[in-house]
């Protein structure tokens, strides 16, 4: 299957992420963002009719509502962290199009291998909001049983793989899942997410290389948000683009405007179709931007300029999609208001409910290390419980 019809170019420029304080010669202005990438809705609101996916009004509404839900939740969680109601949080504001557009192209049977920043992916797959909140609180309803930090989720009911912090470690696992789908002759695929920083890790290399060699049905969604904490993508690699890296593994890399949800959807859909029919992996580089800090522990003013933030505010993926929907007659202020009210209530209710749930029991520390608790851990569990009973005395 030839994919050149949507493979505009893997692109040649990624230097625009350099800040103005950057002292090296490669500095360039921020104006290079356009060009060399797949776009359906241009900044000026023009539609590329040839690429425009034919989605139903219902689907369009669902996409938009999920973007709003994701954004509102993000803001609330940042606040909750500041209020000490959750311990930590990794925001995704700005990346909703890349996350929701890509995941929407997959079916419920396909598997997701996400990162800590992919709440948009979980939400478009229909994750119960309470489950998400319970995890952020690490309470006894948390699917992770309070064992992991916030944003280190995993929800088997939506085939959403468990997350570890080490960058790129999820990628060989994603390839392995895809390899076994192929061996088992399923027609499902894997969407594997990673950031721009992740492209430097050895595990990126292994995962992509195995995917190429075994023609595994995996689509790598690279959310190139310009930064790996304080390191701009131009310091991450001297490659002309990230998408070009796919060639080193014998498959296609596509560069899309990651703030254009229809472009992301379209590229992912084509890649999924190809993978499902035995055509192997694709890399999709979504050019996007992390509008907030890296996490609640980060202070981005140390490394980015106001100009850059402003530049990207104008490219807010929700605004872009809203303009499109308005053009299509799907969006109006009333729709917006209703959507926001529903979302607000839903989130508030979920938070309220989950804040009532107690933390996990102490003995949970010793469970799920192995399938069965071994004698040595039973002994340590007893030891721990003895402290608690004696401190209660």
């Amino acid at each position: 299957m030839n994919s050149s019809h949507y493979l505009i170019d893997s692109g040649r420029r990624n230097r625009r992420f350099l800040t103005q304080t950057e002292q090296q010669e490669e500095q360039e202005s921020l104006s290079h963002i356009e060009g060399d990438m797949l776009q359906v809705i241009s900044l000026e609101g023009k539609i590329n009719a040839q690429l425009e996916p034919k989605l139903s009004v219902e689907d369009l509404k669902k996409l938009y509502k999920t973007m709003v839900l994701t954004r509102v939740l993000d803001t609330k969680c940042m606040n909750m962290q500041r209020q000490g109601r959750i311990g930590f949080y990794v925001p995704c504001a700005g990346q909703e199009a890349a996350q929701i557009g890509s995941a929407f192209a997959a079916t419920a049977e396909d598997w997701i291998v996400p990162t800590y920043r992919d709440q948009g992916v979980a939400l478009i797959r229909g994750l119960d909001l309470r489950k998400l909140i319970a995890h952020l609180m690490g309470n006894s309803s948390d699917s992770m049983m309070g064992k992991q930090m916030p944003n280190h989720w995993g929800f088997s009911e939506i085939h959403f793989m468990s997350v570890a912090s080490p960058i790129a470690a999820q990628l060989p696992v994603a390839t392995g899942i895809a390899m076994s789908m192929k061996l088992k002759k399923k027609d499902t695929i894997v969407l594997a997410y990673h950031g721009d920083g992740a492209t430097s890790e050895g595990d990126f290399h292994a995962a992509y290389n195995f995917a190429g060699v075994y023609k595994a049905p995996v689509i790598f969604i690279c959310e190139n948000n310009g930064w790996a904490i304080s390191v701009p993508v131009a310091r991450q690699t001297a490659a002309a683009t990230l998408a070009i890296k796919a060639e080193a593994y014998g498959f296609d890399g596509v560069r899309v405007d990651g703030n254009d949800i229809l472009a992301v959807y379209k590229a992912t859909k084509l890649a999924i179709d190809r993978a499902r029919s035995g055509g192997g992996p694709t890399m999709i580089e979504c050019l996007t931007y992390r509008m907030g800090p890296h996490s609640t522990s980060d202070d981005p003013t140390k490394y980015r300029t106001k100009e850059e933030i402003e530049f990207w505010k104008k490219r807010d993926p929700i605004e872009r999609f809203k303009n499109y929907l308005e053009l299509r007659g799907v969006w109006n202020q009333d729709f917006e208001n209703k959507a926001r009210t529903v979302v607000d209530e839903e989130i508030n209710r979920a938070i309220e409910e989950e804040e009532k749930i107690p933390p996990p029991e102490t003995s949970s520390i010793f469970k799920d290390v192995y399938a069965e608790e071994p004698a040595s851990l039973r002994e340590q569990e007893k030891e721990e419980l003895s402290y608690e009973s004696s401190s209660k005395e």
Binding site: G176, S180, K367, V369, Y370, A375
Partner: protein, 324 residues
């Protein structure tokens, strides 16, 4: 009963279980057409084909990482690391994903698989074809660590490992791959994980060992007999979970302990055994707990026989304890 060696035991276990369980896939460097550099996977490629016996690219983190993915999706992968010395590029996959997946996901996901790797010295392999790094894995909660010392145990423990629900590091003492032969029953049998074996009974001193060193321990025990010393030799068989009851019974009987392993002494698994004894059975001890081990240096080439534990070294430790 047929007599086979340890490589053959590995090969038989894999072959027979692959016939029974079509979820098993073998992957690694040179495991396919070549049959493995030690021939442990010989014949598997011909019988089961490239989908179940995969010659992979040269990347250990890819081998272990994709195997984890396969295990999550319901296959039963058996990745081979060509020499244990080459497992470190996969160390992050092992510590981060393999060992913690079940725990970190609150039991939603798990990844049982058996990582096979030849390990240890005695083959003139120098630094990078001789290491015994089992201690790293015993310190990584979530893993089980299995080390056989005979063809019988190899086959029986490998079959148990293939059927176990947890991730397992299965270390094969390559020095005795062919040197140690033994009888095994016809047909299917297993050896349980977590049970040590009393390899020899004696009242005077306990020698605790595993892998190739079990044979050094046994030879030393035989030699000590000439001086009237009867050694109890315990073959640990699995380091995690550890059969501490078997160890304590032996120690309570003899009151004297010698631990033998090839790995460097500092923070080797011998330290853990010693510490458990010092915690649980100190009142039985008639002398210090001694370790006969590799030295705290990288594994040397020309002089490896001086580096490795040997019968005279164990005998000297016995003598020291008996005279204490």
């Amino acid at each position: 009963m047929p007599t086979i060696n340890i490589v053959q035991a590995v090969n038989q276990a894999l072959k027979e279980e692959m016939r029974r369980d079509d979820r098993i896939v073998v992957l690694g460097e040179d495991v396919g057409r070549d049959g493995g550099v030690f021939r442990a996977t010989e014949g598997l490629y011909d019988e089961f084909g490239p989908d179940r016996v995969m010659d992979t690219p040269l990347a250990e983190s890819g081998i272990i990482g994709t195997a984890i993915g396969m295990a999550i999706y319901g296959l039963n992968p058996v990745p081979e690391i060509q020499f244990l010395d080459f497992i470190y590029p996969a160390f992050d996959q092992i510590v981060t994903n393999l060992a913690k997946l079940r725990y970190r996901s609150g039991g939603q996901y798990s990844c049982h698989l058996v990582v096979r790797a030849p390990y240890g010295g005695g083959i003139k392999g120098g630094h990078y074809h001789s290491q015994s790094s089992e201690a790293y894995f015993t310190h990584t909660a979530g893993l089980k660590v299995v080390i056989p010392s005979s063809p019988y145990d190899t086959k029986g423990l490998l079959l148990s490992s293939l059927r176990d629900p947890d991730p397992i590091i299965f270390l094969e003492p390559k020095r005795i791959y062919r040197a140690v032969k033994g009888e095994i029953p016809e047909g299917e049998f297993t050896v349980p994980i977590g049970k040590a074996r009393i390899a020899r009974e004696g009242r005077d001193v306990s020698i605790l060992a595993y892998g190739a060193m079990l044979h050094v321990a046994m030879d030393a025990a035989e030699a000590a007999k000439k001086n009237g010393v009867e050694a109890d030799v315990v073959d640990l068989r699995t380091l995690v979970p550890l059969d501490i009851d078997a160890i304590l019974s032996s120690v309570q009987k003899t009151g004297r302990v010698i631990i033998v392993h090839e790995a460097p002494r500092t923070s080797g698994f011998g330290a853990e055994i010693s510490a458990q004894i010092a915690e649980r059975a100190i009142e039985y001890l008639k002398g210090p707990i001694l370790r006969v081990t590799g030295y705290d240096t990288p594994f040397p080439y020309t002089l490896e026989e001086y580096y490795l534990p040997s019968v005279p070294k164990v005998l000297k430790a016995i003598e020291k304890l008996m005279q204490y």
